[in-house]
Symmetry: C2
Subunit: 430 residues, 2 copies
């Protein structure tokens, strides 16, 4: 049973504040272990990758090869269900169409006194995509990180994916191939992050690493940050459903469970203005849990982190929605647009009664890599912008330099930076 | 004397690769100290701020107040030189005009099958600007972080600046006032970062913290990352000047010294195709060092980290420029535009012989907070984008859900996520 909070209760603020602070993950302190792994990969290169992979993944890279071959890709296609391959292509095309609209435009202009200014966007030269192994090895996530990189124009996209027992999910290889990734390595964990950041004999270094991973991968990403760029550190997934009493409780229960089945640390929250509806959803959750393959995971998530929040009117949910700042927000209400217009914080919003969040996970076209753990207050989902960078441009002639010089020299003087002032004055014989 | 590298030498690649890896900063291991400071500020709030400030800054906040008052601002205006105030206003207006062009546009559209998609940008609600104390307390840097935040529409902009011995640079307070910052606190170091991230009785928490600082500030920002957003961790400044023999050696020497005077860890690099010109610049540097207020700093920077790189033709500089990926690149050559078109990595580029980098530090209009230490390979300078975040939007009706359902259900099944598939199927009675 999830907890129930009532906005009308005297202790609501206190309980809601505590709820917001609930830690859903114990972050293991693996910094020292990870530091040692990175140092060894830097020093010993491929030999360290082979040894760590033997130890942690029980896979022999001397036999399998560090790099995945074209033959391995062909075998993956043979092993994959044709209908799933078609679904991946359909998803890829929709994701591509959406992300093509995200390409930032260069800007170049001349101001009133003739100074030329500009911003120019260029693709990052080489990017590493980390894909987890085992049960969390999702082909859809390969599409979600590879397609924006490709649309951005990244020339070299490298994928690292562990092969526990020598096995990689064939659909992960198919998804990589469908997005044009031709460089794939059978390495995982902190050793994969070290190889991508510093390079080995086989793996040339990249400039940025993106993708989720376990505690070792997350710690390694933090440690190599600066040497390379990294994306956000992803936490467990979450959904916040704002629903009035006009919904079918079974639909909303299915949405809450779709989040809960991801992980025992996932979180599903329902905010409603109809207590009877809230109770009906809770009953539907219990009912649906009975025939779900990942029932144990979903039940634990709902029990430990699920919540039903009762508000007197749907509008009263607004400040709570912004404070929760959820990764996914569903608005299953009559006027979702006007509610959205007054919201500030969410990774992605799903409007109306026929937009289950799962559509966004696969085929909506938008990205499913989104800010978790309240970080939608200050960050955004993965996009083309994560694979480009901006260079600013300035160009003056003698006349423009003369116009700007007095203020520049005054400020340089005020800051005690003589040589700054001189580099301006010397060009004007001042 | 800076080092000299010749592209034509047999050992160039080896020496250049070593040069790129040169560490210019020793990052002190202050993690444990910082962790303790953050924990105490979280537990004890204002009392901890008062005690740390007494200890580290020799300032009594019980007497001065944690918050800077309107009266303090008025006194700062009285203490400031009127010409400098005018220069700050001039700079502010130019920075504002440029950054107003960076506001990202919302996108909302309907695709061929009727699915509505969109990206909506909103300002971060509250942002903390950290400003260092002492000699690195630059009013120009206040403008560079406050103006983009204001243009982005951030409602609450909070400044934290230490007051060693009770004193804050009056120009820093004037710059804050000129950009509309009304909430300023006399706190610095890791304790300021902790207060901004977690709040105290006096300081309400913010959602993101930006601004440079010493090793304690940098470590604190890394530690609170996740609870709040942070900007990049800035390293020592650097300039790369690409210049042919048609330049006045004195102009280029002045530019190299303008960077070197910042810090003993700053770096100035000249690439030229004219060895005699390179030697003339080196002589001009030595000459100009003789009458420079910060000669000792500039001389140490040039001696320890300066470099002159000789190439047979200017075009041969291109791959080196991209590998150095400097914060600032000056192109003092005949055809800077065509060189720029073939470059990939730089924080900011200054075109032609009349665009000294110092103009960009103050009054060009572009931002002077730029990626250092080769991070221009994967990141960008500060902009309006750092103060907004994007929410993605998806909206389906029954017909659109029916069109997307088969692929979504196939992928959910392939990933073993039953409840995902069910949340789609249940709405279509499938």
């Amino acid at each position: 049973m999830a907890i129930t909070l009532r906005l009308s209760d005297a202790d609501f603020e206190q309980r809601f504040a505590a709820f917001l602070l609930t830690k859903r993950e114990v972050s293991a302190d693996v910094d020292a272990v990870v530091r040692a792994i990175i140092a060894r990969v830097r020093a010993e290169g491929d030999a360290a990758l082979i040894e760590y992979t033997q130890k942690f993944e029980k896979a022999d890279l001397k036999d399998l090869g560090i790099a995945v071959s074209q033959d391995d890709i062909a075998k993956a296609y043979d092993a994959a269900d044709p209908q799933t391959i078609e679904a991946l292509k359909f998803a890829r095309d929709r994701i591509r169409s959406h992300h093509e609209r995200q390409r930032p435009k260069d800007d170049r202009y001349t101001d009133a006194i003739g100074v030329e200014l500009g911003s120019r966007w260029t693709a990052i030269e080489a990017v590493g995509l980390y894909v987890p192994g085992g049960t969390a090895s999702y082909p859809s996530s390969v599409l979600m990180s590879a397609v924006p990189a490709k649309v951005a124009g990244v020339e070299r996209i490298v994928m690292a994916v562990p092969a526990p027992g020598g096995i990689i999910n064939p659909l992960v290889l198919v998804a990589a191939d469908l997005t044009g990734i031709s460089e794939i390595y059978r390495v995982g964990g902190a050793q994969a992050i070290a190889a991508l950041a510093y390079g080995t004999e086989t793996i040339k270094p990249v400039a940025k690493i993106v993708g989720p991973g376990n505690a070792y991968v997350a710690a390694a990403k933090r440690q190599v940050f600066g040497t390379v760029g990294i994306d956000m550190i992803a936490g467990p997934s979450e959904v916040l459903v704002v629903a009035d009493g006009s919904n079918d409780p079974d639909w909303i229960a299915a949405d809450l469970l779709a989040q809960a089945e991801h992980d025992v640390s996932a979180q599903s929250i329902l905010i409603t203005d109809d207590p009877a509806f809230g109770a009906a959803v809770e009953q539907a959750v219990e009912r649906q849990l009975k025939n779900l393959s990942r029932a144990e995971t979903a039940a634990a998530s709902w029990r430990d982190f699920g919540a039903v929040i009762l508000v007197p009117r749907i509008e009263a949910a607004l400040p709570l929605v912004d404070r929760i700042a959820a990764e996914h927000v569903e608005l299953a209400i009559d006027e979702p647009e006007s509610f959205l217009a007054r919201m500030r914080n969410a990774g992605a919003v799903f409007l109306g009664r026929h937009t289950p969040e799962a559509i966004g996970d696969y085929v909506g076209g938008s990205n499913h890599v989104l800010p978790t753990a309240r970080s939608a207050r200050f960050s955004s989902g993965l996009s083309v912008l994560d694979f480009v960078k901006r260079t600013s441009i300035l160009k003056l002639g003698p006349e423009q330099l003369r116009a700007l010089a007095p203020a520049a020299i005054a400020l340089a003087k005020a800051e005690g930076l003589d040589a700054h002032g001189r580099s301006v004055a010397i060009r004007l014989n001042m």
